[in-house]
Amino acid sequence: MEYVANQKNAKITLAIIEAIHENAAYLSEIDGATGDGDHGVNMDKGFMLAKERIQEDMDFSESLKVLGRTLVMDIGGSMGPIYGTMFSRLSRSLKKQDQITKEAVLEALNNAIQGLMDLAGAKVGDKTLLDTLYPATESYKEALKQEKSFKECLKALLDGAEAGKENTKNLVAKIGRAARLGERSKGFLDAGATSCCIILKTMASSMCEDIINE
């Protein structure tokens, strides 16, 4: 059986935080084109705050919970509750398992999508981070259905995220600040979709390196 250990595996979450930190300026730049240019700053603030509260020997699910809770409690805006909910949902799904299987990851992703839709009222196609998370999860699900290896499934997640993010260029923003631009928002990446892509890709790569085959 293939799995990723949950115990003492906060390094995946720390890698995600690091990736957001490194890309903060880039994310703000993208937000600048159609929004108010602060997405990187907003994200970085919350993720760096969470970093201080996460020890490397925490469980992966516990570290996700801390990240999610920090975002919800201390960040505000829309990103706080949205990403907060995403990470909290991922955490809640995973905390049951010591050994995180590829099936468990799908369940967690689905739970996160459900949480986001319940909370934010954003739909697929509204040009938000959901337009990364949803196609990425679909792609993962497809790979899983084809009984691909954990690694290949994670690769599918990564590819799906990238494709979803890139596709936001073709979408018209229906929600958030960029909605002001209407049709003119076409041709630009969505900032939230971009950060979500960074998160999913980092998570996928980091988990790949950690797969145990017993």
Binding site: D36, G37, D38, V41, N42, V72, M73, D74, I75, G76, G77, S78, G80, P81, I82, G84, L119, A120, G121, I175, G176, R177, A179, R180, G182
Partner: protein, 335 residues
Amino acid sequence: MQRIINDPSLVVEDMLKGFERCHKDIIHIDEENPRVVISNFAKDKKKVGIVTGGGSGHKPAFIGYCGKNMVDAVAVGEIFSSPTAKSFYDCIRAVDQGMGVACLYGNYAGDNMNVKMAMELAEDDDIEVKTVVANDDVASAPKTEMQKRRGVAGEILMWKVGGAKANQGATLEEVIAAAQKAMDNTRSVGVGLGPCTIPANGKPNFSIAEGTMEFGIGHHGEPGIRVESLASAKEIADEMTSLVVNDIPYVEGDEVVVLISGLGATPVMEQYIFFDEVAKNLDELGIKIYKSYVGNYFTSLEMNGVTLTMMKVDEELKECMDEEVETMGMTQIRR
């Protein structure tokens, strides 16, 4: 960007310090959460607590309505960005005296989410929280989609009514009912003549071409109904009055409270010119003005433009509007 600030990313922190210093006889900042402003009058007597919150940059809103007989605690967000769930939660905890808390806020994605999460936290503490979500902006969605409409300056009337009702010793249900009644009878619309700049951002949030105006603009620059040629005060007032009046609709014989707010850079002089045109329209329609407010009551940084808000009043709402109030943004002596 011609602004009098220090670090653009700390404008809210810096502003709050000055605000507390200036109004220390009315409000104070929570000891543990610097994003929570609490009325010094909040616990003068046992009553329902009134909480609100929202992004900064709308001065006097939101903290300017914290004080005697109005809002008891305000959660403070970044510029144009919702406060944290924790700040809403801390507000709720700070003002609950066992009679429950009315959270009266505006219909924005972030605020909806953060209030929802704060309420879940409060539930664990057995604090009863009920909400009224302001949705007075007629231009933000058609009447068939009321739940999508944003809250704008009408929120002030909701706070005024809710705060007065709580002060009268009403139960949470009664406070919520009165605030909801206020909101149900309130409609607003805005017009934008010039953009504003979020300091940390450094460039205008959007643009409005010289000689044009955006009819129905939201108070963060959300898109309006249409971009038009800049018209006279009379024409603007005619267009705005008719949109607002026809939405409920207000009819002959109704009594209304009228609230005109500048969005920041519009001289108050112009707001009185605009108000006179609105009042003339109401005269013609046989709608009586019970009370009127003109000034910078709910702004959007230095945006150029005005909002028009009307609330139809009955005896209960009149009584609430007449209540003495003492806040930075509105001080009224009872006659």
